[in-house]
């Protein structure tokens, strides 16, 4: 991919020591995000999507071992010292987590948390930071922003808290926002509002975004590119329209098929994916999805497929028997 690459994740590996042995949470992942673009990272719990975001933010658990490079805006974050990282995070690299209750400090008012961020990174004086805070809260759709400054997180609803978390993340005009399951803890009507808010602010600020989710429905209308992760690896990656038009990886297809749809009749048996993801401390020799894959043949169990280029541009998949090609019919 060409263009103005803002973030490039190169061969990133994250190893976590556990009592049961080494757990490879992220396995040789390569990704790029261009300025102003949105990348969706999709996968189930334990697929490594959150560890990947933490690797980008350099917020991995202490014992974790990180390999590869994370190039952000011309700098390699992996080799950056703590002080430079601290300046970068919150300033040009911001994050919104799933649960706003845990990302906000429960004993500080909304105002203190916003103003502190602004003063720390933008060196604004108190009056200017206060004024900016009110503007930010208004921008993320919080009614009566002046009064909210004196409130504590527990006085707000979940949706409002997530709006505050987004306001804090946006406060220093970041170049990249990582939104890690930002709507999973919210009701469906609030989810739509928060996703709209993120999309609107992203366009207005020409900010790049990584939207991490387990829901293919969430990424469909709101991302430029999608990377599907399974067992620590990217197994398919494509521009969003291309992916939904012609997905090649059986896992992506199965993930989409398993979502209940409104247009199917009640009591229709759902095409569930049998079994469950492999134990990450017990690596599988072949394709990690092969034990659950309905197309798998002997080769899939013995050999790991690498990401290969599809005929559609910028589309990659890791599968020996991609969907809808002659090779998909096992001999």
């Amino acid at each position: 991919m060409t263009g103005n690459v803002l973030l490039s994740v190169e061969d990133v590996v994250v190893d976590l020591p556990t009592p049961r042995g080494n757990l490879r949470a992220v396995d040789r992942v390569n990704l790029e995000v261009q300025a102003g673009q949105t990348l969706g990272v999709v996968g189930e719990s334990g697929c490594g999507k959150t560890m990947l975001s933490r690797a980008i933010l350099q917020l991995l658990p202490k014992k974790a071992k990180l390999g590869g490079r994370v190039m952000f805006d011309g700098q390699d974050l992996v080799s950056l010292d703590r002080e430079s990282l601290r300046k970068l995070r919150g300033r040009s690299l911001a994050v919104v987590f799933q649960d706003p209750m845990t990302s906000l400090n429960p004993v500080l008012t909304i105002g203190t948390q916003l103003i502190e961020t602004l003063q720390e990174h933008l060196e604004l004086d108190l009056a200017a930071a206060r004024k900016r805070s009110v503007e930010l809260l208004a921008a993320v759709g919080i009614p009566a922003p002046e009064q909210r400054l004196t409130q504590y997180p527990h006085q707000l609803s979940g949706g409002m808290r997530q709006r505050v978390a987004i306001a804090i993340a946006l406060s220093c005009e970041p170049k990249l926002l990582i939104a890690d399951e930002p709507t999973t803890a919210l009701d469906v009507t609030i989810q739509a509002q928060i996703l709209d808010l993120l999309a609107r602010e992203q366009q207005r600020r020409h900010m790049a975004m990584i939207l991490i989710t387990h829901d293919l429905g969430v990424v469909a209308g709101r991302t430029d590119e999608v990377a599907v992760m399974y067992a620590g690896r990217v197994v398919e990656r494509a521009p969003t329209p291309a992916l939904f038009k012609k997905m090649r990886m059986p896992y992506t297809e199965a993930l989409l098929a398993a979502i209940p749809k409104l247009d199917t009749a009640p009591h229709t048996v759902l095409p569930a994916i049998s079994g469950r993801p492999p134990d990450p401390t017990r690596p599988i020799k072949g394709c990690s999805f092969s034990p659950r894959c309905r197309y798998a043949v002997a080769r899939c169990h013995g050999e790991k497929p690498e990401l290969t280029e599809a005929e559609t541009p910028a589309h990659q998949y890791a599968c020996f028997h991609p969907i809808e090609t002659p090779a998909a019919v096992p001999a």
């Binding site: 569930a272 994916i273 469950r276």
Partner: protein, 323 residues
């Protein structure tokens, strides 16, 4: 609020149920004048946002929460006035499955004992018989009894724990199960497995289900009829297909619109300024949805809309239902 699509043979009949509780000196109007029927063998889906009172309603049916007024009739028996042994006996026929499969299993007890507990309470004294029943029901939910009975909950994934919870709910061969968000804590791929399992168990054990969830698509996948709840009141009820194809209540329409569609060509409709639900401590006068409703006017603030028939079997509580 009387009119309901009255099934000829309701297993469960909820009449004008009111549940209120006091938090910090203020009254929470959790369930306000709710009436529902569930026919034998039917699955009724109950949807609504967090805090709309759907879980409280489920618990009030089981008499785990005291109702202020109203009746709950189960198989012709009035549960609200039942006490002690009689209630305990009746509860064996009604079971509950919770949202968090891991938290709902005692972490220190072995799976075999967890699933056998209802049998112990019900007075099945013969340990061999209990063992056989536990083993049968574990096999029915797709687990290998020999492998799982001696193990502890933490050794299982969320999906497997939910299978164990379902086994525990089934072991007494109940007539009715209340599923309270049974799949919301599970991953997409596991969710489909559990939904399929519930459907399979329903036909195998001849169950009637009250299926509570906030995800409309999940509810539709398993329900014959769906009731939509908003701030303690039922705003619409009807056959699943019909309700989703032609919602009459603006709130139902809003919920349907908010579902993300896995199709990039379907640009998500910019969510209208719908805001958030008001507090159930001070619900709006008249129609409780009026503060978020694009069609609301003075009448909606003054008069509580009754559930009225809008189509065959479909009822909506709205002064200005969608055509």
């Amino acid at each position: 609020m009387m009119l309901q699509s009255s099934p000829s043979d309701p297993l469960l009949k909820v009449e004008n149920l009111v549940v209120e509780y006091v938090v910090g000196g203020k009254t929470v109007h959790a369930v306000s004048d709710v009436s529902l029927d569930i026919a034998r063998g039917e699955t009724l889906g109950l949807v609504g946002e967090s805090g709309c009172g759907k879980s409280t309603l489920g618990r009030a049916v089981l008499q785990l929460r005291q109702a202020q007024s109203g009746k709950v009739m189960f198989d012709g028996n009035e549960l609200t006035s039942m006490r002690g042994e009689a209630l305990r006996k009746m509860r064996q026929r009604v079971q509950l499955i919770f949202q968090d499969p891991i938290a709902s299993l005692n972490p220190r007890r072995r799976i075999g004992d967890i699933v056998a507990e209802p049998l112990v309470i019900a007075g099945v004294k013969d340990p061999e018989r209990r063992r056989k029943m536990v083993s049968d029901v574990l096999a029915a939910v797709g687990l290998d009894p020999a492998l799982v009975m001696g193990r502890l909950p933490h050794e299982f994934s969320g999906g497997q724990c939910q299978r164990i919870s379902i086994a525990r709910a089934l072991v007494l061969n109940p007539d009715f199960i209340i599923c309270d968000e049974p799949v919301s804590a599970l991953d997409v791929s596991i969710r489909a497995q559990i939904l399929n399992l519930l459907e399979e168990m329903k036909s195998r054990y001849g169950l009637t289900l009250l299926f509570i969830a906030h995800d409309l698509a999940v509810v539709k996948a398993v329900s014959d009829r769906v009731a939509v709840m908003y701030l303690g009141r039922i705003c619409e009820v009807g056959p699943s297909e019909q309700l989703f194809a032609k919602p009459a209540h603006p709130y139902t329409a809003l919920l349907i619109e908010a579902i993300p569609v896995p199709d990039p060509d379907m640009r998500p409709a910019e969510s209208v300024a719908v805001g958030e639900p008001p507090s159930p401590i001070a619900p709006p006068s008249g129609c409780r949805f009026r503060t978020r409703c694009p069609r609301a006017d003075a009448k909606c603030a003054a008069e509580v809309p009754e559930l009225r028939s809008v189509a065959a079997g479909q009822y909506a509580a709205c002064h200005y239902p969608l055509a």
